[in-house]
């Protein structure tokens, strides 16, 4: 397989095309703008449609319309733009419209800064919109994964009739790395009899909708959704362990921060400290049981959570560990990335060295 050099955002865009996505609705915002830019050139080439919406709000609602028609469709934005999409996302979940949403995170809160951050973890994993809903969230740590996960995301979206998010950050979006366009796992995809493709006079009308004015059917609908979420938790939880076996300190980090942890692990190894990494790949569903197991090793003295935030994923780590191991945190918010040295020192402190 030939390796090609791809910028993260462009790899994301190209991956969408390779996943059979012909439609994109979005709005410019740094540091993800190369996604729409790339697609504005290449979607028309394949008979698809790129449309720059008037806003993120409009974009997500265009996605709702398009996705309801049964086609593969994507939108992409960065933090403040994703905030604006929250109403749309809860509608998409409520109406069970599949689509892929990219968030290339930047520093917050508010307008913040355009540097990489991971401050939207809560929003992505808990849903920043109203009501009970979930979106599977894949968090790539390099450009190859960004390219792979986007393609996986489309399958997950179609299989479960649910929006799926790919949660990257400014660094993943802006950096170039080698990418192999290898095949991804082929999954069986369901038909879409629910899609609004016109009744053609042959069936009852299809309705895409999230309103259930009576509480009973609304509750029922919620129960149905909950079953789906449980199934996703069971089937789609993904994570990676690196040098975790027998480690003294277990880092837990996703995306860009996991790379910093790996650099820190080298520094620690030089000092004779065995450090391992537990990396959630799906941050929802979060690999609670798997993390608990990894941390349960006798060798593990502490779990160190690293994030580009003031501490959001740490909630999930706490839930996973149930007090079984001490947890400490190293993080920076607002666009700064902690150095491997800082992370290594935090680990040393955590284990009292």
């Amino acid at each position: 397989m030939e390796k090609e050099l791809w910028k993260g955002n462009e790899a994301i865009a190209e991956a969408a095309i390779r996943a059979g996505c012909k439609y994109f609705f979005g709005y410019p915002i740094t540091p993800q703008t190369e996604v729409p830019e790339y697609l504005s050139l290449h979607l028309p080439e394949i008979g698809g449609c790129f449309l720059q919406a008037e806003s993120e709000v409009a974009a997500i609602n265009m996605v709702y319309g398009a996705g309801g028609c049964g086609v593969r469709v994507m939108t992409s934005s960065s933090s403040p733009g994703i905030s604006l999409k929250q109403e749309g996302i809860t509608y998409l979940c409520g109406s069970e419209v599949p689509c892929v949403i990219i968030n290339v995170m930047r520093g917050g809160p508010g307008l913040g800064t355009i540097q990489p951050a991971q401050g939207d973890y809560y929003q992505a994993t808990r849903g920043g919109g109203n009501g009970d809903y979930r979106t599977p969230v894949l968090a790539p740590a390099n450009v190859q994964e960004a390219a792979d996960f986007v393609r996986m995301a489309f399958d997950i979206a179609d299989i479960y009739r649910n929006p799926v998010m790919v949660l990257a950050d400014g660094m993943i979006g802006q950096m170039m790395e080698a990418v192999e366009w290898h095949d991804i796992e082929k999954r069986e995809l369901p038909a879409k009899p629910w899609a609004t493709t016109g009744t053609q006079g042959k069936r009852e009308h299809n309705v895409i909708n999230s309103l259930y004015i009576q509480p009973e059917p609304c509750a029922e609908h919620n129960e149905k959704l909950e079953k789906k979420y449980k199934l996703i938790e069971e089937k789609e939880t993904r994570y990676e362990e690196i040098d975790a076996e027998g480690c003294e300190v277990l880092f837990t980090a996703y995306g860009t921060t996991s790379r910093v942890c790996r650099a820190a692990m080298k520094l620690l190894a030089d000092e004779g400290i065995k450090a391992g990494l537990f990396r959630p790949i799906t941050v929802w569903p979060f690999p609670y049981a798997q993390l608990k197991k990894a941390a349960a090793q006798n060798s593990v003295k502490a779990v160190v959570v690293a994030e580009l935030s003031l501490g959001q994923m740490i909630d999930d780590v706490k839930i996973a560990l149930e007090g079984s191991k001490p947890i400490s945190f190293i993080g920076k918010a607002g666009g700064l990335v902690p150095t491997p040295r800082e992370v290594a020192d935090a680990a040393k402190k955590a284990i009292g060295r």
């Binding site: 050099l5 950096m175 170039m176 790379r259 790996r262 650099a263």
Partner: protein, 178 residues
């Protein structure tokens, strides 16, 4: 072996292009590579820089904090990054624009009069190629042939004549390395 490189200069000096060429060449030679631009507020008018990592092992972090090599295309870049270069590292200075010398003594300094050389070649746009030639000559971590191949690939049709110009620029740059 890992090269952690920072390339920095004014917007328009081809800083990003030097980085991308290095990265692609590294990849073609089977290395692990990464390229990371600083896409900050500097974009508007100010200084731009990018980090390139070329390595024989998996690259854990694309962020270069302590470069083994610095390519400083202008003075602010030299001032900002000189102190961060690893002991024993190399600093490449675009001496056409930078009238200061490297002050550290624990690093190697290479001065390249990029613009003058490029102008001598009749095209000031190849100034960055001159610098690239110097880098490759000094570091010997990439082969000039790889770059040549890339140039042949890049400049086709009516632009094919640019291949030789660029190769000449690489050579002239290499000659600056003593």
């Amino acid at each position: 072996m890992t090269n952690d490189i920072i390339i920095s200069g004014f917007g328009g000096q081809g800083v990003m292009a030097i980085g991308k060429t290095l990265t692609e060449a590294g990849m073609k030679e089977g290395k692990e590579v990464s390229w990371l631009p600083s896409y900050g507020p500097e974009m508007r008018g100010g200084t731009a820089n990018c980090s390139v990592v070329l390595s024989d092992e998996l690259i854990v972090s694309p962020i270069v904090l302590e470069p083994s090599e610095l390519i400083a295309m202008n003075l602010p870049s030299l001032i900002k990054f000189e102190p961060t270069v690893k002991k024993g590292g190399t600093i490449f200075v675009n001496s056409s624009v930078v009238d200061q010398k490297v002050t550290r003594t624990d690093v190697r300094a290479v001065y390249v009069d990029c613009i003058k050389i490029a102008e001598e070649l009749g095209n000031s746009k190849v100034a960055n190629m001159v610098m690239l030639g110097a880098y490759i000559e000094a570091m010997k971590n990439l082969s000039t042939d790889t770059i040549k191949e890339m140039l042949v690939h890049m400049f086709t049709g009516p632009k094919a004549k640019l291949v030789d110009l660029n190769i000449e620029a690489l050579k002239r740059g290499a000659a600056c390395v003593k």
